[in-house]
Amino acid sequence: MSPDGMTGAPGLQPGHSRRNFIKGVIAAGATVSASSYLFRTTIMGQNDGMAGAVERLITLDVNGQQRRVDVLKNETLAMTLRYKLGLTGTKLGCDRSECGACTVLVDDVPRYACSVLTHSVRGKKVQSIEGLAAPDGTLHPVQQAVVDGQGFQCAFCMPGFVMATVGYLKTNPSPTRAELAHGISGNLCRCADYNKILDCMMVAADKSRGA
């Protein structure tokens, strides 16, 4: 299976670009959401009215935007971000909390999006790699440090590392190299570029402090 999990996805025909396919999925998601809204009473009828029962149609705060989305009860945040909201910068590596590629911030705290139920982030602020740059396109200091230092080889793990670093620097803005290594130790790089990644992220810490 390809790293982004697209191989074998229904409707992916030779000659269709991955980007178009993703757009199609997003459109389909929007359709599903709309029909759920129209038949809202039916959706509500599925619940038995007990305390704690959940609605499928929810509003998420993603990258500062309110996103209305139809979410399965058994759906993970990584699935919602990638396949409902089109935010494919969040990668799915292991889908088992063991690689860190799907790391996003939930209320500023790094979490594995593959192992968070989307319903559990209602009312919380979700930030993915797409939400880091300023509205005018200015990169976040951590992103800029990665670009400048070229710390990654294949960079599949990069969005997760960047989000883990951004989150860790919020709790410790001036880490030693060892502290930073421990702080972002929940992310794997199969190219084993750890030294270069840490070089970049130490520069990123300086940039983030405005040093």
Binding site: G52, V109, H119, S120, A178
Partner: protein, 337 residues
């Protein structure tokens, strides 16, 4: 097992906002309900289709289960308090650094940010035959796949095996036992308080679960008395790699010193039996003795009496001995953590 990439099988989801509502849902759904704290143990079971609960009760919205508060010089820790919070809480670090150290080396930063102390003590066994869905004793069958001549059992039990040879994988569990903690369990309108040691059960009592929690039970809080606040302590975890890994063996010790001699002690190792293994004989033998080499040697020999290694885990015997010696002498050889 290769990862399955599509979504987990469907379940009914409840996200109660209070303990009362959670208990109501659990009462109504009985054995069909799966209690989910941080979910770090849960999602593997569900994604691999090994366990397929009809109802998942996510406790993430129950704010009253989070937080750490003073309790007469001790602490009461809500079951949904994350391991990160426990590891960095000033009160925990000041009074019970043993627990802070244990919480800080669980798994990875993201897992500690989401995983809870209640979930860490309630998590299921890691035996891969069991987790891969083999119909073993622990899964309700009548064979152990890990205790056969060709099995891979490097991580399994050396003490008190009874048909099943799986071990308890928790890092905070031995620390909490060494602090004489108590676990508060609610069920319906009833509440019971269980000493940490009695919270965990071996296969002789119930081969299908690692704790006393039955369907309908909810672990709500962990109480640590003031008894061991500020006393000497030792925690060490030995694992193959320094992130993510469960302990091959870990040790938690509390030592009350009277001058240069040990007046009282608690010493617990985990990763060696189905329940955290408390070293009663060691605790009794080291009372009144100094923290020196003679005491350490005596304790190490006592600690492994009765150990029965499997094909591939005899290394755990010298490992337990070494950890007991270091706990008594206080010679920390910290791995990066």
């Amino acid at each position: 097992m290769p990862p399955i990439r599509d979504v987990m099988p469907a379940f009914e989801l409840f996200q109660p906002a209070s303990v009362g509502d959670a208990l109501g849902v659990l009462d109504r759904h009985g054995a069909d309900a799966w209690v989910m704290a941080g979910g770090m143990d849960t999602f593997d079971w569900l994604k691999d289709r090994i366990k397929r609960p009809k109802v998942v009760v996510d406790l993430g919205m129950v704010e009253e289960l989070r937080g750490i508060k003073d309790a007469a010089g001790g602490l009461e820790i809500g079951a949904m308090t994350t391991l990160t919070t426990v590891a960095h809480n000033p009160l925990v670090k000041e009074r019970f650094p043993l627990l802070a150290e244990a919480a800080l080396i669980v798994a990875s930063p993201q897992i500690r940010n989401q995983g809870t102390v209640g979930g860490n003590v309630s998590q299921d066994a890691r035996c891969w035959y069991y987790r891969a869905g083999w119909p073993c004793y622990r899964a309700g069958g009548n064979i152990c796949y890990a205790d056969t001549p060709t099995a891979i059992n490097r991580e399994h039990a050396i003490f008190n095996a009874d048909r099943c040879v799986a071990v308890n994988p928790s890092d905070t569990a031995p620390a909490l036992i060494a602090l004489d903690a108590e676990f508060v369990i609610k069920r319906g309108s009833a509440e019971r308080v269980v000493p940490a040691r009695e919270f965990f059960v071996g296969p002789g009592i119930d081969i299908t679960r690692l704790t006393v929690l039955q369907p309908g039970d909810l672990l709500t809080a962990i109480r640590i008395p003031a008894t061991w606040a500020g006393k000497a302590h030792y925690f060490e975890k030995v694992r193959d790699r320094q992130v993510w890994d469960f302990a091959l063996v870990n040790i938690a010790a509390s030592l009350n010193m009277s001058g240069t001699t040990i007046s009282d002690a608690r010493m617990v190792v985990n990763g060696v039996a189905a329940e955290p293994y408390r070293l009663d004989a060691v605790e009794a033998a080291i009372k009144g003795k100094p923290r020196d080499k003679a005491t350490a040697d005596l304790a190490a020999d006592l600690a492994v009496q009765g150990a029965v290694p499997l094909q591939h885990n005899a290394y755990k015997i010298p490992l337990v001995k070494a950890l007991v010696k270091r706990a008594i002498r206080g010679e920390a050889e910290w791995a990066t953590s």
